[in-house]
Amino acid sequence: MSVAFSETGRAEVERLLTRYPERKAVILPALYLAQREFGYVSDEAIVYIAGLVGTSPAEIEGVATFYTMYNRKPVGKYHVQICRNISCSLLGAEHLIEHVSAKLGVRPGETTPDGKFTLTKVECLGSCGTAPVMQVNDDYHENLTVESIDRILDQLP
């Protein structure tokens, strides 16, 4: 079973190819595109991208598994990524992680049975001045408290 990018996706790849002198440079953006179009980076997506840039699936897999933001397995509708690095920890991140874990009923790394939330502990998100911080899908949520986290998660459709 093979996959392919949508017409818009393919057009985006063509556009990207004009911005770099080498074909393989589109691998990172192409993996993001795959994640958007197929929901996650599947085995088929890897094979497809390998064909696009002209290399082996193993090489693409090597790239995809190196970076944390490419999901090789599906994640929940909302990927709740809470920073557990030093500044956030000093301001109570561990307590927040425990709270969310209990609230959602999953351990970090797991997805809720209804597929709505995946909870992950992540490293520094680069917003230490507003710690504790979390990222839900693309969005940062800063200056977190137990109350604000509850509010944010409860409001997600």
């Binding site: 393989k24 030093i86 500044s87 920890s89 000093l90 490293e123 680069g126 001045g129 710690a131 990222q135």
Partner: protein, 422 residues
């Protein structure tokens, strides 16, 4: 105090081209086009502009490493990977002043005779990448990027390239590999990027803030910029203060500001009326300081003299009551998670450090564990392709040297005296 970067950041519309121009934006670019590229590089040298990414290498000197012969196209790569824990200043520049960066890129590329620039933005900064992309689109539409910029005859293309979650990609050769579509493995040096860089071309990699400083340097002169700082560290720095302070945030201060003042004056002192226990001064990879060590100028040379680094300008404030072993455990987990795995000492050493410090914190430390950590640090430091191993070693060594009794207590009592909490 005169500010170079943040002067108009309070205005949220400053990220738009029209507002940026109202405040004199792109005048420096016009002035630069009337200069000789060599003159621009001289101004940057006069400015004593030290790289703002963490290594502090003089930008003007780095620019001079490009080969004289122009037969191979040269490129500029902007390092917006901002991953050093405690550092969050480039995010501010990209969200509040993206055109500062773009104008800086324009001037720098003109000086370097580079016609292509990639801005490598860490993957998590989705919103920031969009803002920068919008600003780039505005610039192209206004003829400030692309072909024959402002009728100068100079062509320049700028592209945002998003990373995908790897701290190591903040190292310049790892970043280049990631730009090329590979795993973020650092490269052996030599050859240096200035000879063989992105796509095999002569490449200069600079931090966002370094490049963003360039327009002001051209407008006001390198000497004026230098005078804002101290002798070997010119200008202002964006210093991020985080942790247990009353006013965490980014402060634009002279490169020679006093570290104690940063914490107690600008950031409002320690939260909740607590006392200070420790300060990690320049991002997590820099040796920790005790409270009696922070009455010192924050410039690169002075910090070096007391055995630490100003690094990426990320001051992390640790209050009394925080467990140093637990803090170190958080950091060791970080380096083990981020090690690229290419070379033996870092790949295996960071994992081992994480496990030893982890078990000490959990009350399962063994006699000899502290000596083991220090020996392991000796076997890692300076033995690797890139400094990530050193970055893991410096906190481990300094925490143990300066807070030894906490480690001994954990091991002796077989528990965390702070109850496994911060």
């Amino acid at each position: 105090m005169e500010t170079v970067l943040t002067t108009y950041f309070v205005n949220e519309r400053y990220r738009r081209l029209d507002t940026y121009r109202q405040y004199g934006g792109y005048e420096a670019l016009k002035k630069a086009f009337a200069m000789d590229p060599g003159q621009i590089i001289d101004e940057v040298k006069k400015a004593n502009l030290r790289g703002r990414g963490g290594a502090g290498f003089p930008a003007g000197v780095k620019w001079g490493f490009l080969p004289k012969d122009l037969s191979r196209p040269r490129v500029l790569v902007v390092n917006a990977d901002e991953g050093e824990p405690g550092t969050f200043k480039d995010r501010l520049i990209m969200t509040r002043g993206p055109h500062l960066l773009i104008e800086g890129i324009g001037i720098s590329c003109f000086a370097l005779r580079a016609h292509a620039c990639w801005i490598y933005i860490r993957g998590e900064f989705v919103r920031e990448a969009r803002i920068v992309d919008d600003a780039i689109a505005e610039a192209y539409a206004a003829g400030l990027l692309g072909k024959n910029i402002l009728g100068s005859g100079f062509d320049l293309d700028v592209t945002v390239h998003r990373g995908a979650g790897a701290y190591i990609c903040g190292e310049e050769t790892s970043l280049i590999n990631s730009l090329e579509g590979k795993r973020g493995w650092p490269r052996l040096k030599p050859p240096f990027p200035a000879s063989v860089g992105a796509f095999g071309l002569p490449t200069i990699v600079n931090n966002v803030e370094t490049i963003a400083d360039v327009p002001w340097i051209i407008t006001h002169g390198g000497g004026t910029f230098a005078a804002l700082g101290v002798e070997k560290n010119g200008g202002t720095r964006l210093i991020g203060v985080s942790g247990a302070v009353n006013r965490p945030g980014v402060y634009e201060l002279s490169a020679g500001v006093n570290l104690k003042d940063i914490i107690y004056h600008h950031a409002g002192g320690i939260k909740d009326g607590k006392k200070l226990k420790a300060v990690i001064p320049g991002g997590s990879s820099t040796p920790v300081l005790r409270p009696d060590e922070i009455d010192v100028s924050y410039d690169i040379e002075s910090m070096g003299k007391i055995g630490t680094m100003a690094g990426s300008g990320g001051v992390i404030v640790i209050p009394e009551g925080a467990c140093m072993v637990r803090s170190l455990s958080v950091l060791m987990n970080f380096y083990a998670h981020e090690s690229c795995g290419q070379c033996t000492p870092c790949r295996e050493g960071t994992g081992w450090l994480k496990r030893i410090v982890g078990r000490i914190e959990e009350g399962k430390g063994r006699e000899g564990d502290v000596e083991l950590i220090l020996d392991l640090c000796d076997n890692m430091m300076g033995r690797t392709i890139c400094p990530l191993a050193d970055a893991a070693v410096m906190p481990a060594q300094s925490f143990i040297w300066k807070f030894r009794e906490e480690f001994d207590r954990h091991i002796g009592e077989q528990k965390c005296p702070y109850g496994n909490r911060f």
